[in-house]
């Protein structure tokens, strides 16, 4: 099943199973069903709890915060992740702080769903992966959609806990099929789940057992899909064997599966589509270099997009955003 449909079914299921769930967003009413059709059918099935809002992300965030304080579980669709900047104040100064500011008497469990990512020629303000600006906000979990994780699990995790969540969905995943591990495999790759208790598990992918891999790659979202294709290609063609660790929750980071893999490979490459500098990979690199100090064969490599504005021209965008060719080049360097 393609990701956008699975996400749509997961929303139906969450609304159906949990009466606290409400869904808000721009243009999500039927028959349009949202810019990426993820909300299709929701207003028809749950007209009382699924509402199209005015074109105001501040309003969506503020109303969601109020609903959450009132005991609901709002899931807010932000049409393009780029517009999350308009929700930032509500998230930073209110939603993630109420619990502490009111001495634990209230909780504010809001989930923001936001399509991120480029490679589509949508230009500077509709192609970004700005989640890095939301990493490290205390009491905010950031979860990334991935081709190897069922989307409902992210909703179940949100509904089971009392914290706000930012769920970033790379828009190129929408038309892709979900390939969660089955029988220890994802296609040609060996696949397993790993992670700490109570955290959405990471998926570990490799062509050969971990002990035979010489590099760990950690990547999330659409970049995980690109990395997996490179891992397979370099393994099958050149016997450059890597293990790819794909987390669902990207903040706070669950280091256990990365630690375990790096213990075997002694090399790490992080991959993300966001721009370089002050990035997710920088954070992972800092921790792994600390915990594996003296045992790494090479310094951790961080691959991120060029720190500039995403161009509208497709050819230029391909150079600027991390693509499969960049990942391949980095892996070859790391293993040379």
């Amino acid at each position: 099943m393609i990701y956008s449909r699975a996400l749509n079914e997961a929303l139906h299921r969450a609304l159906g199973e949990d009466a606290r769930v409400v869904v808000l967003g721009e243009d999500i009413s039927d028959p349009y069903g949202g810019a990426f059709k993820v909300s299709r059918g929701l207003t028809t099935a749950f007209p009382d709890r699924v509402k199209t809002t005015p074109v105001s992300e501040q309003a969506i965030a503020g109303i969601s915060a109020g609903l959450a304080l009132g005991g609901y579980r709002p899931i807010a669709e932000v049409m393009f992740g780029d517009f999350l900047s308009l929700c930032f104040d509500q998230l930073l100064n209110h939603i993630t702080k109420y619990h502490a500011m009111y001495a634990g008497q209230v909780t504010c469990p809001v989930m923001f769903r936001a399509p991120m990512g480029g490679h589509r020629g949508y230009g500077p303000t509709h192609s970004q992966s700005i989640e890095k600006h939301f990493l490290g906000i205390p009491h905010l979990r950031v979860v990334a959609a991935s081709p190897y994780h069922e989307p409902y699990d992210a909703f179940a995790d949100f509904l089971a806990k009392d914290d706000p969540v930012l769920f970033v969905e790379h828009k190129l995943l929408y038309p892709k099929h979900i390939t969660a591990p089955t029988d220890g495999r994802v296609g040609e790759l060996l696949a397993s789940h790993a992670g700490s208790e109570g955290v959405l598990p990471s998926v570990c992918l490799s062509l050969v057992p971990r002990e035979e891999c010489a590099l760990t790659i950690v990547a999330y979202g659409y970049e995980a899909l690109l990395a997996a294709s490179v891992v397979e290609k370099l393994g099958m063609e050149d016997e450059l064997f890597c293990e790819l660790v794909v987390p669902a929750q990207i903040a706070p980071v669950d280091f256990a599966p990365i630690d375990a893999s790096v213990s075997a490979t002694r090399r790490l490459l992080t991959v993300e589509e966001g721009t370089a500098g002050w990035s997710w990979g920088d954070r992972v690199a800092a921790s792994i270099q600390r915990s594996h100090f003296g045992r790494l064969a090479k310094p951790v490599e961080v691959l991120a997009s060029q720190p500039t504005v995403i161009p509208g021209a497709r050819r230029l965008e391909q150079e600027m955003l991390v693509g499969a060719h960049h990942i391949e080049q980095k892996i070859r360097e790391a293993l040379s």
């Binding site: 449909r5 990426f36 038309p175 892709k176 040609e188 050969v208 057992p209 063609e237 050149d238 016997e239």
Partner: protein, 372 residues
């Protein structure tokens, strides 16, 4: 023949689902007819044909199709359509057969190496991805099990010993026996297949560790010495393997070494030339003690320890299981090393070291220059 293409500029969808075929497979359609509805993630799209002809559906209703490929073809006549359908069927069958025979997964390098060495990939373990390593191992391992050498015979009054490990450690143990300990090395086992059938100082390598049990059951040897000094983990693993097979270990103590009064010694210890064990010392099992080691009186050694040459302890020193000592180490009285402590060559230990710690040594570099 012409292709029926989905008319979409939707960059957000790579595939669509055929909601409905408006005409049956093989039916006559006219230019402009809408032949199918396709649902993408964005919309339901009508698919018109731009020419007239007979319709060959390339996917069933409800099937998911890539939007970049034709979903149907149009033919001038029913005969042309059927001929194409038959050709497609044949192609599918051939592809299915090829897929079935391609159950072997191997890297490009492994395939090339297999062709070079004449290895049939299907004869290898196909449950995993085959790499160059597996291909080369298969060539090394291409032996006839019956052709593996048998253990040597030995005089009846000597202890017949099987050595585990056919590398340099084996030469040391064989040399100890040659010094007249009343023991004879009758065979060696080693899991490195490339060593099988070779000899170390005239003692044949008769196979891998899987032969220990059967050979013992045949009565081919009396006891085992583990002749590997480089890995304490391997020493432990192999000792446990022997224990699980109820195969006894024996000591190999060089004639030049001195074991003092009232020493308690376990089994499977290798004491190379000029080793001294002081009075009342306790030595565990399966330790590999290199030449010129001296463990003074009232030392306590654990098991699976390995030392380099020239390690000297003072009295009452304790050395835990699986410790690994380098070359030329001095240990002061009463110092205790926990389990799995590693000590760098040249260290002088004045105080105890907790388990699972490494003692590092500042290396004093000796500069080597050409003569002037």
């Amino acid at each position: 023949m012409s292709d029926v293409i989905v008319p979409t500029s939707d960059v957000n969808s790579e595939t669509g689902v055929i909601v409905e075929w408006k005409f049956a497979d093989g039916a006559r359609v006219e230019a402009g007819d809408v032949v199918a509805d396709i649902e993408t993630s964005k919309a339901v799209i009508e698919v018109p044909v731009t020419a007239s002809g007979f319709l060959l559906q390339l996917a069933a209703q409800d099937a998911e199709v890539p939007l970049s490929a034709p979903i149907a073809k149009l033919f001038e006549s029913t005969e042309a359509l059927e001929a194409h359908r038959a050709a497609m069927k044949a192609e599918e069958n051939a592809a299915a057969e090829a897929a079935a025979s391609a159950g072997v997964r191997a890297t490009a390098k492994a395939k090339a190496r297999a062709a070079e060495l004449g290895v049939d990939l299907a004869s290898l373990d196909t449950s995993r991805l085959i790499t160059v390593k597996e291909v080369e191992a298969a060539v090394q391992g291409a032996f006839d099990p019956a052709s593996l050498p048998a253990p040597l015979a030995a005089p009846e009054d000597t202890e017949r010993v099987l050595l585990i490990g056919g590398a340099r450690g084996a030469t040391q143990v064989i040399d100890i026996f040659r010094g007249g300990t009343g023991q004879t090395a009758v065979a060696i086992v080693d899991d490195d297949k490339s060593k099988w059938g070779t000899e170390v100082y005239g003692v044949p390598v008769v196979g891998g560790s899987d032969r220990i049990g059967p050979l013992f059951a045949e009565g081919a040897f009396d006891a085992v010495v583990i002749a590997i000094s480089t890995s304490v983990a391997a020493r432990r693993k192999l000792r446990e393997l022997c224990a699980s097979l109820s195969v006894p270990l024996t000591n190999a103590i060089d004639k030049t070494s001195k074991v003092a009064s009232e020493v308690t010694m376990g089994r499977g210890n290798v004491l190379c030339a000029f080793v001294q064990i002081g009075t009342s010392a306790i030595v565990g099992d399966n330790n590999f003690i290199s030449a010129y080691n001296s463990f003074e009186h009232h030392n306590i050694l654990g098991s699976d320890i390995s030392t380099g040459p020239g390690c000297v302890t003072s009295s009452r020193v304790k050395i835990g299981d699986r410790c690994r000592l380098g070359t030329g180490i001095f240990i002061e009285p009463g110092v205790e090393l926990g389990e799995e402590v590693r000590v760098a060559s040249g260290s002088v230990l004045l105080k105890s070291v907790p388990a699972k710690h490494t003692v590092k040594q500042k290396v004093v570099t000796t500069v080597v220059v050409p003569n002037r």
